[in-house]
Symmetry: C2
Subunit: 248 residues, 2 copies
């Protein structure tokens, strides 16, 4: 039996697809799904995606570290924002984080609400680890671009194309959005960072965060051998899942 | 003052954009906006976009020719479907047509509901005529891809890229969807028809309409010097508008 790969350019288009029982790869390159990878590499235990900063703030009372980003900036009064650099801090090892971002955490929650069987987070930081897992999984795949406030975005589509370029030959690609993502990636694979720096989102960052190069960080390949995966309401590390079950 | 061009990949994403007071170019290459161009070239007087075949059928009582397509096929009991070949018929000259299609007429009605100032139909058949009009118009432009049942489609995006390639240098392009459409067009401009034949929509047609080459027809450039434009509830020909006002 052959499986399918489809690409969805915006969470707002989820209702037009059959998600039920499929594996959804949530993609928010700048920056939520990149940041999730860094957090699990650092050794964070569990990350709870939350819809709003108001709800997220409540989890401070339950021994969570609270993290919130809106409009590409850290929300005032939170422990962390959404920059991958913040999640390299070794003090985060073993901690639980309640996490809300403009696009990424919303896409994760929507995929869950629509009945996805597995929800994982993809980024250039863990692309090989992700692709190996996907191929072993033998499942129908949805590559869900988180976009920017429900609009199409360039870096998430490029990443969808990169995944298809790695594993697509084993799958059925009937979907125009998947074809277009593959075309886009093939056209720019030798200058990915240059193209992403042209994107509206990258320009938004450069204006806001002149001191840290989040875009350059998120365009690194395979520096995190982890797979953030949803278990109940939490994102956990697939590696730590394995460790947990093998040691129990 | 410089104006903007934005691209919307699906009518379902319209609510996330500010359409109010802008010029919306509705794009349904296979086939509604191509067919509109052919109809006006033939000399059809007015075309009334209608949401459903049931409503459309009623207009038979008011001396309209009735046309309906669903799922790429002519609906039973209607005078016409949505193939451009049907609209070359000289008997249509001077007639009014009530017209409903799976994607294109819906996109036109949604753009109107969202407050667009001008709504025009674009296709490869009238691309130069359209682009000349757009540039003279001096207006903010939305290129609205009708897609397929609210999903992304390749041929509409290629056309959006073709328009940007012709006139984009005069406009502000801040939008990732516009950048991606332009990339896609530049990559494939020497083999447009070949790429469109790979699209899910083209494969759908080839299976259904083996005897007519609607895809080849719709990929011809500049065979219709007309611009379908909305006036009240009707699509009319911009050329005939001019003639009407100059002769009145």
């Amino acid at each position: 039996m052959q499986f399918t790969i489809e690409v969805i350019h915006s969470p707002a288009l989820l209702p037009f697809y059959n998600i039920n029982g499929k594996t959804v790869v949530v993609i928010d390159i700048l920056r939520a799904t990149s940041t999730l990878c860094v957090a699990f590499k650092t050794g964070v235990k569990k990350i709870l995606p939350i819809s709003t900063p108001e709800e997220c703030r409540m989890f401070k009372d339950f021994d969570f570290i609270i993290a919130a980003e809106r409009n590409a900036e850290k929300v005032k009064g939170f422990d962390l924002g959404n920059s991958p650099f913040e999640y390299e801090n070794p003090l985060l090892e073993g901690k639980n984080i309640a996490f809300t971002t403009t696009n990424g955490t919303r896409a994760i929650k929507q995929a869950k609400a629509m009945g996805a069987e597995f929800i994982v987070a993809g980024s250039f930081l863990n692309i090989n680890f992700l692709c190996n897992w996907l191929v072993k999984q033998q499942h129908n795949i949805i590559l869900l671009c988180a976009g920017w406030k429900d609009k199409y975005n360039l870096e998430d589509t490029l990443f969808a194309g990169a995944v298809i370029s790695q594993i697509g030959s084993n799958y059925i690609l009937n979907d125009d959005a998947a074809l277009a993502a593959q075309f886009l990636y093939n056209q720019h694979k030798n200058n990915l960072e240059g193209v992403v720096r042209q994107s509206s989102h990258a320009r938004r960052f450069t204006a806001l965060h002149a001191n840290t190069d989040d875009v350059g960080y998120c365009m690194q390949h395979n520096i995190c051998d982890v797979l953030p995966i949803m278990e109940g309401e939490y994102m956990v590390s697939f590696k730590s899942q394995l460790t947990a079950s093998s040691s129990s």
